[in-house]
């Protein structure tokens, strides 16, 4: 049985990138990137860095880059369903008008 043995150099490069991205996300979080107007700018940047880090881990540490097509389909399905979960929930909550509570409910 022969599987792809990833060179140590690649693991160390990925690890270094993960450390640098962690430092970046911590430093950046102290600055208001939206200039007081775009209140979600920081969240977008933090999420982008997190997705990048997760992608590095999945591709190299979890060997997806060298994985079978079925594995790619499974991972893709997982991400796709997660987007449905969060996307449809937020589409509902953000578009739903909130009626004031009836007076007898306090």
């Amino acid at each position: 049985m022969t599987h792809h043995v990833v060179p140590v150099r690649i693991y160390l490069l990925v690890f270094t990138a993960l450390i640098l991205l962690t430092a970046l996300t911590v430093v950046v979080s102290f600055y208001d990137l939206g200039g007081g107007r775009l209140h979600y700018a920081n969240a977008v940047v933090a999420l982008t860095i997190a997705v990048t880090k997760a992608t590095l881990v999945v591709l190299f540490f979890m060997h997806l880059r060298y994985g079978s097509h079925q594995t790619w389909v499974f991972v893709g399905a997982g991400v796709f369903w997660l987007l449905i979960l969060v996307g449809l929930i937020m589409a509902d909550y953000l578009s739903r008008p909130w009626l004031p509570a009836a007076p007898w409910l306090g």
Partner: protein
């Protein structure tokens, strides 16, 4: 009488390669269900942070960013040693395998130790949801909700770490008994997948809980 060595190839698989592929894909399938499990927690968090941004920001600022950052680095380091453990197993090197499994376990325990220090701080600061919760703010109720999410999400993550630590211990026993070789190291590989997944959950938990409101 010599002990009979049980072949790792089970009779319902055609080949070792097929068995490996099946185990690997099985672990990925499990991890997809885990994505949905943690995804539900994250989806709940996103809904409430969009409702109660102010209270959640106040709560987030009471988390210890230094300990959170150190823990992130510890967990990333444990992922590196786990990847190196799998690599050692692939090459059939027993002693490096034991070393890297041991390092991964040690880093995992350091993470849990730091997490428990953070938890005890929260207890002393009366930030644990329930009768003892106390927070001076007009949005204290929403801060309490933030800490409910904090403890549910990091607690579930820590529980996964404990399970992972158990799996690593089991792997170390197996490695010491020469159960793994370059031909058969599936348990090391799939435990590695699980460990990296738990790392990824933290990669998202850290900015979500600790960083989201630092700039305010």
């Amino acid at each position: 009488m010599a002990e009979t060595v049980e072949s790792p190839l089970q009779h319902h698989f055609a080949s070792a390669e097929q068995q490996y592929e099946a185990s690997n894909l099985g672990m990925w399938a499990f991890l997809v269900t885990e994505i949905m499990f943690f995804g539900g927690l994250f989806a709940g968090f996103i809904v409430y942070v969009s409702f109660y941004a102010e209270g959640f920001a106040e709560g987030s600022k009471h988390l210890d960013i230094a300990l959170g950052t150190v823990n992130t680095l510890v967990l990333l380091g444990s992922s590196l040693t786990m990847a190196m453990a799998v690599r050692s197993a692939q090459r059939g090197r027993r002693n490096p395998l034991l070393l890297f499994l041991g390092l991964t376990l040690a880093l995992g325990l350091v993470f849990l130790g730091i997490k428990s220090v953070e938890y005890s701080h929260k207890f002393h600061q009366h930030l644990v949801p329930g009768a003892g919760f106390h927070f001076d703010s007009p949005v204290a109720q929403n801060v309490q909700l933030f800490f409910s999410f904090y403890f549910a999400m990091t607690g579930m993550h820590a529980l996964h770490m404990v399970v992972g630590a158990g799996l690593l211990t089991w792997l170390m026993v197996g490695a010491a008994r020469e159960r793994f070789s370059a031909e058969y190291y599936t348990p090391v590989e799939v435990t590695g997948l699980y460990w990296h997944f738990v790392d990824i959950v933290w990669i998202f938990l850290f900015p979500t809980l600790y960083l989201v409101a630092r700039h305010q």
